[in-house]
């Protein structure tokens, strides 16, 4: 959705400028682009809802515009286009004045947003910004007998929101060629190849973005091996990234080129420099959150959010067992669960990881290679067991996790890093009145409103310092296969990212 923002300073008191422009039908007296203008239906020109019908001075047609709001106190008004000979769909404009108190001058801002065919966006932005708004500034200055405002020579061209990237962008509406990690067939890390792919222009409701950082997740391994049927070769892996929007399709509201966004969701396709995807899946990133941290933490953070707040509501008094407590999600579960008042017990594979887990809120790290974790939990909880167990290890570990569970405990199986999970003895769950959950990320993040709600709680926890995401190791995107090997070899600590 193109946006136009123009502003100027006039050497006249704000009351004098407002007096000229507040009359919704008065533009025929001062704007050079406007011919004859009338208010339809005999309404007053300052009545909200009134419609002005005017000819364009160059004879190219008529425009009907409706007054949406007018405030004498704020010295502002808003209006929309109802009919026009040019494709400015959904055009809404706002005009506002502010006094410059140290010189009896006036700040005047005129802004709008609209939809239009992408190939005409640049032309229409220029027409509206220069032909209407800046021409209007000059006309009112002349009417008030002031020196004509004009951009000072030798200064940079005005840019309301400079895009962070200075690279040459792809022409709007055209397909782009980018480099990506392509899954050639299901299998080991060797099936990932680095090559050029085409990225389509954004369709309706879509945006094209340039990734700044991409998150590496265990689900990518499942997609690579074909265990999850989310990516059919040849296809692109990756469910998490952060970057900047370079182009928006029609019907996208509230996002524009230059906006920083992130996502953590299906469909996969993040292992690429550029990507086109549905705008509804994106979460705007707060300024304080950089791309690397967002890519390292969004999927894991959103997972931690729904595991702790939606699958179960962990709180004070809970005894929570977190497997792989120094891993990506494990670290966040320890931080957040301990902040929520739970006693956190964790399993780790090395003294170094035990130290990490303890620093992240895990009160009782268990070195599972040295001590049986069921026995350790029994000792730590004085035989009571854990009220919640988070198990992404899977395989034979899940049955052992059940042994560590308290009566009426909740066993949450959210992954299977060590292998497929054999059938469980559900009848045996009666021995503890236990619950078993097998949450699927997609089922908790399928709805854009829920995604934003999860992201809100996650960002608040990050901003308050409850959660601390440290991007672990970074691999060049082209070396994704090496990153997969490291992840599967359990060599990584924290969250690994890929840099395009």
């Amino acid at each position: 959705m193109p946006r136009v923002v123009k502003s100027t300073i006039l050497d006249a008191p704000v009351e004098a400028v407002w007096d000229v422009i507040r009359d919704f039908n008065g533009h025929e007296d001062w704007h050079p682009a406007v011919g004859r203008s009338v208010i339809e239906g005999g309404l007053r020109a300052d009545q909200v809802g009134c419609v002005r019908l005017f000819e364009l001075a160059d004879g190219s047609g008529e425009i009907r515009e409706q007054l949406l709001a007018l405030s004498d106190r704020e010295r502002s008004f808003a209006y929309c286009i109802l009919e026009a000979p040019i494709p400015l769909d959904g055009y809404v404009a706002q005009v506002r004045l502010k006094p410059v108190t140290d010189g009896r001058r006036t700040f005047w801002e005129w802004r709008s947003e609209f939809d239009c065919p992408p190939e005409r966006a640049a032309e229409l932005v220029q027409l509206v910004g220069e032909g209407i708004y800046e021409a209007g500034f000059r006309a009112v200055a002349e009417r008030l007998g002031l020196a004509t405002p004009r951009a000072r020579p030798g200064r940079a061209a005005p840019r309301p929101r400079p895009a962070p990237s200075t690279r040459q962008e792809v022409p709007a509406g055209a397909p782009a060629v980018t480099e990506a990690v392509v899954l050639e067939r299901h299998g080991g890390p060797e099936v990932l190849s680095w090559r050029e792919v085409e990225v389509p222009p954004p369709g309706r409701g879509q945006v094209r973005l340039r990734h700044g950082a991409i998150g590496l997740n265990y689900i990518d391994v499942y997609c690579r091996t074909g265990y999850f049927g989310l990516v059919e070769p040849p296809g692109i892996l990756g469910m998490e990234a952060a970057g900047v929007i370079t182009e928006v399709g029609q019907g996208v509201h509230g996002l524009q080129p230059g906006d920083r966004v992130g996502y953590a969701c299906a469909p996969p396709g993040a292992y690429a420099r550029l990507r086109t995807m549905d705008a509804a899946l994106l979460v705007p990133l707060p300024d304080w959150l950089d791309d690397a941290t967002a890519a390292a933490g969004l999927l894991k953070g959103m997972t931690a959010e729904f595991l702790l707040h939606r699958v179960e509501q962990v709180g004070a008094g809970d005894r929570v067992l977190v497997h792989a407590a120094a891993g990506g999600v494990g670290t966040l579960l320890c931080q957040w669960a301990s902040h929520l008042g739970a006693t956190v017990i964790g399993t780790v594979g090395s003294p170094e990881k035990a130290r990490q887990a303890r620093a992240n809120g895990c009160a009782f790290p268990i070195l599972y290679r040295e001590q049986d974790f069921v026995e350790a939990v029994d000792e730590i909880t004085r035989g009571e067991g854990c009220t919640v167990v988070y198990d992404a290890v899977g395989g034979d570990n899940l049955a052992r996790s059940f042994e560590a569970l308290a009566v009426r405990g909740h066993l949450v199986s959210y992954g299977q890093a060590s292998g497929p999970i054999p059938p469980q003895d559900v009848a045996g769950y009666a021995a503890k009145s236990a619950r078993l959950s097998r949450p699927n990320f997609g089922h908790y993040t399928g709805d854009p409103a829920e995604v934003r709600s999860i992201a809100r709680r996650l960002f608040a926890a990050l901003e308050q310092g409850v959660l601390r995401i440290e991007a672990g190791r970074a691999f060049p995107l082209a070396e994704a296969a090496a990153a997969h090997r490291a992840l599967e070899a359990r060599e990584t600590i924290g969250s690994t990212i890929l840099l395009p």
Binding site: V5, T8, K98, V100, D102, P158
Partner: protein, 145 residues
Amino acid sequence: MVKVYTSSVLAAPADQVWRVVRDFNGLPDWHPAIADSRIESGLPADRVGCVRNFNLKDGGNIREQLLSLSDYDMTCSYSILVSPMGVENYVATLKLTPVTDGNRTFAEWSAEFDCEPGRERELAELVGNGVFQGGFDALKQRFGG
């Protein structure tokens, strides 16, 4: 409730001015009335909730808490926790807006506060003219205006 509003135009791009004024601990670098400043508890100066503790050149000590900071809107707001001025419920907002014509900056600094009856005019003058306009005048010297 007393309301004070001061605005000015600076002859530099808004992002350039913002880099200077967004530093909640940076007042001594640009405001002529401030002698020194520190952020309490070792927090980063752009962490909402952090407290700046600064001394005026004429000797007073003021503690102010950062309530909001948006690099997107180029706006920050803060409240006074302790000051010798005798104001209550004092909340101030500093906002920059780009002026596209000439790539300049429209700067607004406003405040609302309560005080003892009879002192409204004196305090509005102190805040609006002394603190805010004094700051703008210094920024205009630095950036032109």
